[in-house]
């Protein structure tokens, strides 16, 4: 699974961290960041919902 985050687009809504807290968090600037060791959280079925939850299309998830 490949996760792409675009911090330039991010508006800090926190929707990603709310939807899949095992994978996404916010850094000190309140912008999207990956949780250290996030690979363990990629089994969360809600993860696939994150790109749709993001208000500014800053997150892409693709298989492989």
């Amino acid at each position: 699974m490949r996760i792409t985050i675009d911090r330039d687009r991010c508006i800090g809504s926190g929707q990603c961290a709310m939807t899949a807290p095992g994978v996404f968090t916010q850094d000190d600037e309140a912008l999207v960041a990956l949780v250290p060791g996030y690979e363990d959280g990629t089994g969360d079925p809600r993860l696939l919902d994150v790109p749709m939850a993001c208000p500014v299309q800053a997150i892409e998830i693709s298989e492989g």
Binding site: I11, S13, G14, M18, V56
Partner: protein
């Protein structure tokens, strides 16, 4: 599609906005428009035709589309409320500007409203909620839930965050009400002028004697470094102050009213306080306090088989998107156990609410504590006698007489 194809020749498109009759339901006229087509045509008070997007998927697509502008300062930006007529040129930071100006302003504020920072103020919010409930219970057994509870919670919290003295709250709450409720441009200008003057003075005072609120940070980091001028800081403060209490007050009061009108759902939350977090999302979906968003097309846009022309007024119906049967099963059923994913209660796209995580915490703690502390809470008047706000405003009760 021409107008004659969608309604009888000569009959004007229905007027928008219309007032709700039930405080938590979109007006009947709106609900008649949803279903067949993802967009319809309406008429604004000044006779200008406007597109209204009613579909969930289509509305989300529009709210992220850079061909739609939110630039209130544009000379022909659509006017939905009479009080804002003729105020072209006055641009409101964050909410009334497009990128790149919007992005520059928002970037400065994102860290102050991050999830972790908001979670850190939970104890502060809980403390002020507890205090307000203590006072209400001591004075009871009746109260106006708006003035005794739903208004002071977000008002005190935003003052604390911004570093605005809450002692001045009577002054700015009254001006905010006058500004939002103004019938004419002159009334709105007078209230706006007083609010602006107050915050202008406060920013000046803070430059001389810095405190530790968000305004102080903005002044220190941005004004001093020349990234913001004095006017912009004052205008940002004004937008945050207005947005910080004009919306959440309604979410709390309308949320309480909706729960009181759905006793089975209230019972779910009484038995399982943990469910309040999810209930907040369902309340945001079901009640749609911000009923609509206003945009203007910068280019021609194809949507749902229609062409929205450059310069056309476009309204995004938050309340109908949140009740779209293609997105939600039984969309008109209030179900606190529902996973209300992808609701647009806070909007969508670059303008999605900056303070959403503050609002979530305030609504959750306020309603959770209200339910726990006052088990016998009920309306003191029949629901059809609860005065509610006009269709163009943030939706909610003007007063909410309760007893216990």
């Amino acid at each position: 599609m021409t107008e004659t194809e969608i309604r009888p020749t000569g009959s004007p498109a229905p007027s928008f906005p219309q007032d709700r009759t039930c405080p938590y339901q979109p007006p009947q006229a709106y609900t008649d428009w949803r279903g067949e087509r993802p967009l319809t045509q309406v008429t604004l008070f000044d006779g200008r035709p406007a597109w209204m997007v009613t579909g969930h998927a289509e509305g989300r697509a529009m709210l992220v589309d850079p061909r739609l502008s939110a630039d209130w300062g544009h000379p022909v930006f659509p006017v939905v409320v009479q009080r804002t007529e003729g105020r072209g040129g006055l641009s409101f930071p964050l909410i009334g500007v497009d990128d790149p100006v919007h992005a520059r302003q928002r970037r400065m504020l994102i860290p102050s409203f991050g999830v972790k920072r908001m979670n850190a103020i939970r104890p502060m919010v809980q403390e002020l909620v507890d205090q307000l409930l203590d006072d209400m219970l001591a004075k009871g057994p009746t109260a106006d839930l708006v003035s005794a509870f739903a208004l002071p919670v977000p008002s005190m919290a935003i003052c604390e965050l911004l570093g605005v003295p809450y002692a001045d709250h009577d002054f700015f709450e009254e001006r905010s009400r006058n500004f939002v409720g103004a019938k004419t441009t002159a009334e709105a200008d007078a209230a706006f002028g007083e609010l602006y003057g107050y915050l202008h003075g406060l920013v000046g005072k803070k430059q001389a004697e810095p405190g530790d609120g968000l305004l102080d940070e903005l002044i220190a980091r941005q004004l001093e470094e020349g990234e913001l001028d004095h006017n912009e800081v004052v205008m940002i403060a004004l937008v945050l102050l207005l947005a910080g209490h004009e919306t959440t007050v309604n979410a709390i009061s309308l949320g309480a009213l909706t729960l009181l009108q759905h006793p089975d759902q209230l019972e779910v939350l009484r038995r399982d306080p943990e469910a309040v977090t999810g209930a907040v999302e369902e309340l945001l979906r079901f009640t749609s306090v911000s009923d609509y968003m206003v945009r203007m097309a910068k280019e021609d846009i194809e949507l749902g088989g229609e062409t929205i022309k450059a310069g056309d007024a476009v309204l995004i119906s938050i309340s109908l998107m949140n009740r779209d049967g293609k997105a939600y099963e039984d969309p008109d059923t209030f179900d606190v156990r529902r996973k209300a994913r992808h609701h647009v209660g806070f909007g969508h796209g670059i303008h999605q609410c900056l303070g959403q995580n503050l609002a979530r915490i305030e609504i959750e703690i306020a309603l959770g504590s209200l339910i726990a502390r006052i088990p016998g809470l009920r309306l003191a008047v029949p629901v059809d006698q609860v005065p509610i706000k006009a269709g163009h405003d943030a939706q909610g009760p003007v007063e909410l007489p309760v007893t216990w």
